[in-house]
């Protein structure tokens, strides 16, 4: 089915073919409908937009920028976490800076090197850990912490339908169904939701040895101070809610939109991705999609029907805070502190053996 007399550029999973103009309208409407349907953005927001410089985050920022221009009470700031992955992050960083400068969007950049004392590349030299594991842990830690310091009401991420379908299936295959309760178009605990807070050491804002060397900023100050810890026992505002406005858009749709709006930069791929489990699940889903169009939509739509029950079944009665750094955590010590301690030990061991490889 053709949409008009103009050249078609994409065929949707349901079979409809759209030209450039109608596809752009379709895509933008889909994003706005997703925002409305899942109540992702309120009338007034101080939104952080997590940017990597890749097509998803630039597409997201491009569309949210349009929204913000129509609704000045929705303020946007880009936030970029530079993990320090050579020949990958350094390239996308330039794309992010250029876009934000051109579109008058403020961009805050935080690096692993600055915040933890070493880049991801160097962390992987001393720790025997899956790259995506440690990258994700530290990136999410920084994203949440800095978003809170910047007083963002929410963080928007460029996660798309493909990402979600992959996460859903990965959790199924690994018998981690409880993790799927944390998926969906909006994640994190609303500040409106009451929850009892188990907070063990609000008095002690200093960090223990395992963290001090790595979770300090360059000026050697403790990064957690009493000023940025929220004492409100009725909310968990230490965790900034995350929204996914591209939630129902396929990767192909996002790329097509990025192409027609000149948001595409040179393709770069994280060198750690090719080894990942996610990449294998991604390839599996794409092979299925090629034979059975609409597979990924079906996975996500059926998951959305189950999500309320999953959230109910796996809801956290209490919100914990890490005893070391006071960030939200599911246990007494958050994963960031756990790995920071391992890094400290690994670095100490390297110094003793005279094999320190960084600095």
């Amino acid at each position: 089915m053709n949409c008009c007399n103009e050249k078609e550029i994409i065929k949707l999973p349901a079979g409809e073919k759209l030209c450039r103009k109608h596809f752009t309208e379709y895509f933008e409407n889909k994003v706005f409908k997703t925002i409305t349907k899942f109540d992702l953005i309120g009338k007034q927001e101080n939104l952080g937009v997590a940017i990597s410089g890749g097509k998803d985050s630039l597409t997201l920022l491009h569309i949210l920028n349009k929204l913000s221009r129509q609704n000045p009470k929705i303020k946007l700031t880009g936030i970029l976490i530079d993990e320090g992955i050579k020949d990958y992050r350094d390239k996308s960083l330039e794309a992010a800076k250029e876009f934000c400068q051109k579109n008058n969007v403020k961009l805050e950049i935080y690096s692993f090197e600055e915040e933890f004392g070493m880049s991801l590349d160097n962390m992987l030299k001393v720790l025997d850990v899956k790259p995506c594991t440690i990258c994700g842990i530290f990136r999410r830690y920084l994203l949440n912490k800095k978003s809170r310091e910047l007083k963002f009401t929410k963080i928007a991420t460029g996660h798309n339908l493909d990402d979600e379908a992959q996460s859903i299936m990965m959790n199924q295959f690994k018998n981690n169904i409880h993790l799927s309760a944390r998926l969906g178009p909006m994640v994190g605990i609303s500040s409106n939701k009451s929850s009892s807070i188990k907070n063990s050491s609000m008095k002690d804002n200093t960090m223990k040895n395992g963290i001090n060397n790595n979770l300090k900023n360059k000026n050697n100050k403790n990064v957690i101070t009493s000023n940025n810890i929220n004492n409100d026992k009725d909310s968990n505002v230490n965790f900034v809610q995350r929204i996914k406005p591209l939630y129902l858009c396929t990767e192909k749709e996002v790329t097509t939109y990025a192409f027609v709006n000149n948001l595409l930069d040179e393709f770069t791929e994280c060198p750690n991705v090719v080894k990942s489990y996610r990449a294998q699940v991604r390839d599996m889903l794409n092979n299925l999609e090629a034979k059975f169009s609409g597979t990924k939509y079906s996975i996500v739509n059926s998951f959305l029907q189950m999500l309320p029950d999953l959230k109910e079944r796996f809801k956290e009665a209490e919100v914990n805070y890490c005893k070391e750094c006071n960030e939200p955590a599911s246990k007494d010590k958050c994963n960031a502190c756990k790995y920071a301690e391992k890094l400290d030990k690994a670095n100490a061991s390297a110094i003793l053996n005279n094999t320190q490889i960084f600095f």
Partner: protein
Amino acid sequence: MQINVFFDREKKEKTIEVGENSLIRDLLAKMGINPVTVIVSRNDTIIMEDDEINDKDKIKLISVISGG
């Protein structure tokens, strides 16, 4: 027909031999590329899988997968 194809994921250009009246879908199949994973452009315009290929065409394959 000889077709020049640049695939951004491989960062290189190849010359692919395809038969007369071939479609983009045939080209992708010959290269072992899943059409779900790329968008195809010719002269900076997106073309679709059932578009015909012309002799001496310069085709660019743009990977849709996220880099990270």
